[in-house]
């Protein structure tokens, strides 16, 4: 009877230990997966923010300030990746979390900058076209008036001149 109880207790203890081991391994694996997904999310957010900045730059916006902000986020992401490689998943996850608010701010600001630059670019384009058309018209008109005055004077001079006979 005592042996039977001992066997039961031992079996229970083994099951408990195995469960505990499994749970701790599972917890570590789950934490690693969570950190990886956070790092992936941070990577995606930075890629999107950078693409927004490039779009704004192509539209003619000044992106110096935006790139400086993004560099902060990129630095934090690099630290997170480095922490993850050293095995410090908790720090890596915390650092990856810090990236997202910065990238959201940068993306929004870059989209605004792109819009403003596009409007400014269109205004500049139409101003240039207007200047070219009006400027060319005024220039040709003035030149034509000068030509007419010059032509009249030339003909008058020609008609008033007396023929000279060379002996």
């Amino acid at each position: 009877m005592v042996d039977h109880c001992k066997l039961k207790s031992t079996t229970l203890l083994v099951i408990l230990t195995l469960s505990l081991c499994f749970l701790s391994v599972y917890q570590v694996a789950a934490q690693t997966d969570q950190t990886e997904s956070k790092l992936q999310a941070a990577n995606t957010a930075i890629n999107q923010a950078f693409s927004s900045i490039v779009d704004a730059e192509k539209a003619g916006a000044n992106v110096t300030g935006l790139l400086a902000q993004l560099n902060t986020a990129e630095g934090i992401l690099a630290q997170a990746e480095n922490s993850y490689r050293t095995g410090d998943s908790n720090t890596a996850a915390a650092q990856a979390d810090r990236v997202l608010p910065i990238t959201q701010q940068v993306t929004t600001a870059a989209q605004d900058a792109k819009q403003a630059a596009t409007v400014f670019g269109q205004n500049t384009f139409w101003s240039t076209i207007a200047f070219t058309v009006i400027g060319s018209f005024v220039f040709v008109l003035v030149l034509f008036l000068i030509w007419r005055w010059f032509k009249r004077r030339y003909i008058n001079n020609l008609s008033q001149s007396k023929p000279e006979v060379n002996s």
Binding site: F50, V63, L70, A78, I129, S136
Partner: protein, 198 residues
Amino acid sequence: MKLEGYKLVFVAVGLIGVLLIATPALAGAIHLPSGEQFSELYLLGPDHMAENYPYNIAVGQNYSVYVDVGNQLGSSAYYVLYVKLGNETDPRPNNNAGTPSSLPPLYEYRFSIQDNQTWDSLLTFAVSNALISGNNSQINTLQINGAAFNVDKPSMWDSNNTAFRYQLLFELWIYNDKSNSIEYNDRFVDMILNLSND
């Protein structure tokens, strides 16, 4: 000069004047081809000069180099710089195939640079745990900018160079907007190191 001659002069002046006035509009419409586009990657010694690079490294000592990246691509670029540790037999990046080394990265930098700008950073490293026994050596832990990495990288004695040779490899990767991924930029530099007892 006859009147016809003056007329030609006026027409020529008119055409040149219109072209000059239209220059701003033409400059906006005509895009001239830009120059060669490339990225630069280079290392400088601890004095910010191309000299005094670390070579003989001892356990517990700190060594420094400056890593520099230049952007000549015509627009802003987002770079990732991977630092890898290899021994003499480990594969280096393949210049012909344009592929990176298969070694896992230990440390990385991420940064964006505007066109015509340069990024510069001080990298400090130290071997904090290593073994040398006969013709064999092994770096167990390498610290880069204060972060400790378990590397367990062995290297055999190189009798030609009389050294336990290791290489600290710097690979430049760049974000590709079209594929939405970080890709190897076909740029790397390496620094040969000799693990010594002193």
